[in-house]
Symmetry: C2
Subunit: 187 residues, 2 copies
DNA sequence: CACCCTCTATACGGCACCGTATGGGCGGGC
DNA sequence: GCCCGCCCATACGGTGCCGTATAGAGGGTG
């Protein structure tokens, strides 16, 4: 077997890069080839068509998003809130995964295949949030609501353009996270 | 002046429809023409190019999003929380404006022109949220954090795919909204 | 070293779209 | 009823992309 000059993984990598920076419509075979410094000649040896690449990209993203993060977080024995923050940072602060995540969310709004993958990943993350929040909160409904709030904050704040006079966006985000994850409600 | 068969507004309307359902990349002159039942012949009489249409679409959206909603909400004298809910429903539950809003948010991630418009609109909405929340909350930092939480929940929950065993998404959203807008924190 | 197998370059037909040019058609003003 | 101006259909060149076909280059393998 000859050495693979531009292995299958390179196409997926480059595809994910294009997806992250330009959305799913920016994932174009010829554009990826140019970015890789080759032509599309070898592409169709790995993938039946552009759609096959998109599915392979979803496969890779799902594996990276779920397995690696859960694996790294699961083996820790720290403060649950710290684990949540770590998980959030791994999935959403990583320069690589965050833009990818946001792009896939928009993609999923119009594509049922992408939506199904996102559903699996989000369910995993939501389960993690429930578990963590459940360690310091008893009411199941409140756990669910707080989990949704934490998740919405993590994702939604990247889709907002509003400014905060006197604060940075990160500061306000931190305060909001503090309310959701640390502050009990008055009864 | 001859009767306008396909007035400028019709192109903008159709453009916004395409944007809402397919993202900014789906706004294509020839596709809009087909949707309108004409050819693109008359388009370039109204707009210099596709970019001019996109800017006009942003103009229309900004006016509709800010003016109409604020006008309708501003003249009410009800419970502040009710006003927030009404404003949210007008902007985000409307079948017309919600998909448009989400599509523009994704667009703004990659286009500075769209981002500037979104910033203006979001700042208006954020100001509304601050004002409303300020009527039952004193700490300025908490007002800011709660406003961000409410906004993130309104937007972010539409980008999440997670499921809630035993509850509908709307139910959990309502519970989360209740926490942000109604429940004081323990001190 | 020669063979083979894999990846790559090149070329092709097809399609969708952009922006421009041009002529016809249809309604309103007189 | 005639003219005029706006709107639209049609056609064109150019570009970017898809998917296919074919042949060449280059490294592993015997």
């Amino acid at each position: 077997m000859g050495a693979k000059r531009t292995p299958r993984e390179a196409w997926i990598e480059e595809g994910l890069r294009a997806l992250a920076s330009g959305g799913v419509d920016a994932v174009r075979v010829e554009a990826l080839a140019k970015a890789l410094g080759v032509t599309k000649g070898g592409f169709y040896g790995y993938f039946a068509d552009r759609n096959a690449l998109l599915e392979a990209m979803l496969d890779t993203w799902e594996r990276e998003s779920i397995d690696e993060v859960l694996e790294r977080v699961g083996h820790l024995d720290g403060d649950p809130r710290e684990k949540i923050r770590l998980a959030g940072q791994l999935t959403l602060s990583a320069d690589r995964l965050l833009p990818l995540d946001l792009a896939i969310r928009d993609w999923a709004r119009r594509d049922e295949v992408a939506a199904a993958r996102l559903r699996r990943v989000d369910n995993e993350r939501m389960a993690l949030l429930r578990e963590m929040i459940g360690t310091f909160c008893d009411d199941p409904d409140e756990i669910e609501a707080r989990s949704l709030l934490a998740f919405s904050l993590a994702i939604g704040s990247h889709f907002l353009a509003a400014e905060h006079p006197g604060h940075t966006h990160a500061e306000v985000r931190a305060m909001a996270g503090d309310i959701v994850l640390n502050r009990p409600l008055a009864r």
